[in-house]
């Protein structure tokens, strides 16, 4: 089990908490305050051993958890954002992209790859929240669309791990149309009868919830993730009432009938591959 050693730099703990502790040595759970040695935290798949808090992790960590021996081939790794609208808010969009790429080492907010999971072929797309809030612009839409094409062409099951604040505003209507694009591709995946599992992780909201994340043959989630269409702040401002306890958590969404099951990270790989196996057309 040497693989987790390489992940040390990949942990993302809330920066405030992190600063109080020597970098990379300890992890302090933001929920219960429990402190563990980083290495043990990684061994526990970035889940607090005391309160079961599932720390947010990115594509790198999910790929390592799910692909056998962390071996995979990335699909379309070189797609990057264009700036079709020449968008400028407080910053130029192109500068924002460049700065984020530098900071995260990522090209955009999703990575797609193919490899083996418990011996079976799988295509996995995974969003990175650290890249502009996991927002969906043209690159995210296009990479997911192409990953689905790959799944259809090779008849390989598709797993999409969502973690996103929603649309990429700086791509405006281009971003909006990625919802239609990814959903349209999933219609074709469905016709090809290739199974699709959508894993919703903390947080999954906005245009991602309102497109591919809710369209799995199975929709599943990690425990206690924020899952919704409108963000809690927007809802609160609209209805001018406090939101009920546990609103928009995985457990809430399961209870209301929009998830098939909730799965803890330690069971993720086995339960997903079991699910795909049970869906296999023989």
């Amino acid at each position: 089990m040497g693989w987790f050693k390489r992940l040390t730099e990949g942990i993302r703990t809330p920066s405030k908490e992190k600063k109080e502790i020597p970098e990379g040595l300890w992890y302090k759970c933001p929920k219960c305050g429990h402190t563990v040695i980083s290495e043990d935290f990684e061994k526990n798949l970035w889940v607090c051993e005391k309160c079961n808090y599932h720390e947010r992790i990115g594509s790198k960590e999910y790929f390592q958890i799910l692909f056998d021996d962390n071996k995979f081939t990335e699909l379309n790794p070189n797609l990057t954002s264009a700036d079709p609208l020449k968008f400028v808010d407080t910053k130029k969009y192109v500068d924002r992209i460049k700065a984020t790429q530098k900071k995260t080492g990522l090209k955009d907010a999703v990575r797609t790859a193919t490899g083996k999971m418990n011996g079976d072929d799988v295509v996995i797309g995974c969003m990175d929240f650290s890249f502009i809030g996991g927002s969906m612009g043209s690159v995210v839409g296009e990479k997911i669309a192409r990953a689905i094409d790959y799944s259809i062409e090779h008849k390989i099951p598709f797993l999409m791990i969502s973690k996103s604040g929603g649309a990429r505003m700086m791509e405006a209507a281009f971003s909006l149309m990625q919802m239609a694009k990814t959903s349209a591709k999933l219609a074709l995946l469905g016709e090809a009868k290739v199974p699709y599992i959508s894993l919703l992780t903390d947080p999954t909201t906005g245009g991602v919830t309102a497109s591919f994340a809710m369209l799995g043959d199975l929709n599943i989630a990690e425990p206690n993730a924020l899952i919704g269409f409108a963000g809690p702040r927007v809802i609160k401002e609209t209805i001018r009432k406090d939101l009920p306890e546990g609103f928009q958590t995985s457990e809430f969404v399961l209870e209301h009938g929009f998830l098939d099951y909730i799965v803890e990270r330690k069971d993720l790989k086995d339960k997903i591959s079991q699910s795909f196996n049970l869906l296999k057309i023989k």
Binding site: S138, V139, A167, F174, A184, L188, G207, T238
Partner: protein
């Protein structure tokens, strides 16, 4: 009383002058015919001048004009009353913010669907300001499936400030409802024509917007977020709504230039509400032309072309 938008102030002043002169003639017998003609001419010119130079934000204001015609008015005109409204999603309830039914336009039997805003304070509330709950999207999908079953083209009218952000909406799966519509609409085996007649806000608009042909009326907007919300999020204050409206490229003209819609439908000078019949006629011409053309295409091809069209949207760099 007519409602004037802030930038229509010069028109308002002229119309007040016009009224005064008409009154003078009627009540005092003063011959103001010449002046009246002059003012009327001036009003036309001023309106043309203002409306040929609208900023994106001003178009947003026109799209939200309280006198603007809404979906049911279009349906009434296009079908000449040969329309039956159908209700309910068969699951939870009938969403008043989304209307739909079966009707006939010049011999073409169609299914018509759209968000519906209210015409006065009471009705605006009744219609939830044109913000559908999940039931609205599910009603729309039910009607689209009905259309597919009986091989009728679908026409949708888009006019919403967004899908409703509420507790019940989340409990009943707002995200799932919109997502399902996107997937099912993409693959529907009958022609779909979509027209943005007012506001096209985000997923709430797109939820009935996946068409073989998508049009916007001249003074409407369509984007991923409203300029006000965009300003609040990116500039952290609502003061940049004009700037956001520009940056989002949300007008019909920009959307057409970016190949995200198939065409722009003309409005009368001064906006759709100044002459609804002319607006309806313009819409009807486009709809009839498309119906004739789309009906010749096979069901499979219709879905394939629609899917390909939306899958081609987006701009990326590939190293």
């Amino acid at each position: 009383m007519a409602v004037y938008l802030p930038f229509e102030e010069p028109i308002k002043e002229l119309e007040e002058q016009l009224e005064k002169n008409i009154k003078l003639q009627k009540e005092k017998g003063v011959d103001t015919t010449e002046i009246i003609l002059q003012i009327e001419k001036k009003i036309d010119e001023t309106r043309k001048q203002i409306y040929s130079n609208l900023t994106p934000w001003q178009r947003v204001l026109v799209s939200r004009h309280p006198e603007r015609p809404y979906t049911l008015s279009y349906i009434e005109y296009l079908t000449k009353g040969n329309f039956i409204e159908l209700h309910g999603d068969r699951g939870v309830k009938d969403d008043k913010a989304m209307v739909g039914g079966i009707g006939e336009i010049e011999g073409h039997q169609v299914v018509l669907i759209g968000q519906q805003k209210g015409v006065n304070t009471k009705m605006r509330q009744y219609r939830n300001f044109g913000m559908p709950n999940p039931e609205g999207y599910r009603k729309a999908l039910r009607l689209m499936k009905l259309a597919e079953k009986f091989n009728k083209p679908v026409i949708t009218f888009i006019d919403t400030p967004g899908a409703y952000p509420g507790i019940e909406a989340e409990e009943r799966g707002q995200g799932e409802a919109i997502a399902r519509n996107l997937m099912e609409m993409a693959n529907l085996k009958v022609p779909i024509i979509c027209i943005v007649i007012g506001e096209g806000a985000s997923g709430g608009a797109l939820g009935i917007g996946v068409g073989n042909k998508v049009y916007m009326l001249e003074n409407t907007w369509y984007s991923v977020i409203s300029p006000e919300s965009c300003s609040t999020i990116l500039w952290r204050t609502a003061d940049y709504k004009e700037k956001a409206a520009e940056a989002l490229k949300l007008t019909a003209q920009d959307m057409y230039k970016n190949k995200l819609i198939d065409g722009i439908i003309k409005e009368p000078v001064g906006g759709a509400h100044t002459n609804p019949e002319e607006t309806f006629e313009n819409v009807k011409k486009v709809v009839l032309k498309d119906l004739k053309q789309l009906k010749k295409i096979s069901p499979e091809k219709l879905a394939e072309e629609r899917i390909n069209k939306f899958c081609a949207m987006g701009v990326v760099n590939e190293e």
